[in-house]
Amino acid sequence: MESHITLENRMEELGRMPAWLEELGEAWGLPAASMLSFNVALEEAVSNIILYGYDDPGTHQIELQATLQDGVLRFVLRDDGHEFDPTRRPPPDLNLPAEERPIGGLGIYMIHKIMDRVEYHRINSYNHLILTKNTGT
């Protein structure tokens, strides 16, 4: 099973993601609570691309593809922004008390917590971020 959506590099475009995820979650029989957390992971990844991926004021396309095969859900994000490998960011120290914890770094930590695997490839000037999760379905 395969589904995809193309978003432009504007924050308002994130508003199109929930309906897409809800639809494919229902079609593929995935629990709504899981779709909520996938939304968190994807929103983090896409907002990073929008915020930090481009210097020019032009419109760029961010492609999201979802596949479900043998119970493994796989999201591939493809964009032509600056090279950015989120897998190389250090995780936040969750042992620190709340008042000492830095505010940043949380989103990428959450992507890793929500998904089983996070892979990054730079191919022909495109970033490919691949997020996979064994859904057991």
Binding site: M11, E12, L14, L36, A98
Partner: protein, 107 residues
């Protein structure tokens, strides 16, 4: 996302409805900042109507928590939907917040 502020038994209760995400977390932060700037020391965020929260939204909760700690006040969250509680769990932030099941459980 919409917010509403009520006052009850010494608490300033901020009810948040809808999705708190990267597109609107600054509005959410502004609503809470206004309540804190007004000097309220006991703030409750009623999450019963909140059906999504991104990491940017969680940061607002964290910032509010830090500021209330620094001011010698308190922040309590109430009525989290199960899916939202799960996102707090995933973030590792669940344990730092004081949470109660509903408004009736506020002391």
């Amino acid at each position: 996302m919409t917010t509403q502020v009520d006052f009850s038994n010494g608490y300033a209760i901020v009810s948040v409805e809808g999705r708190v995400d990267t597109t609107n977390y600054l509005d959410f932060e502004k609503s809470l900042t206004e309540v804190m700037d007004a000097g309220h020391k006991k703030i409750v965020i009623d999450c019963s109507g909140m059906n999504y929260i991104s990491s940017s939204g969680l940061r607002v909760f964290l910032i509010t928590h830090k500021r209330m700690l620094a001011a010698g006040g308190s922040l309590t969250l109430c009525s989290l939907q199960p899916g939202i509680a799960e996102i707090f769990e995933i973030s590792g932030l669940f344990s730092i917040f004081t949470m109660v099941p509903d408004r009736a459980a506020l002391s």
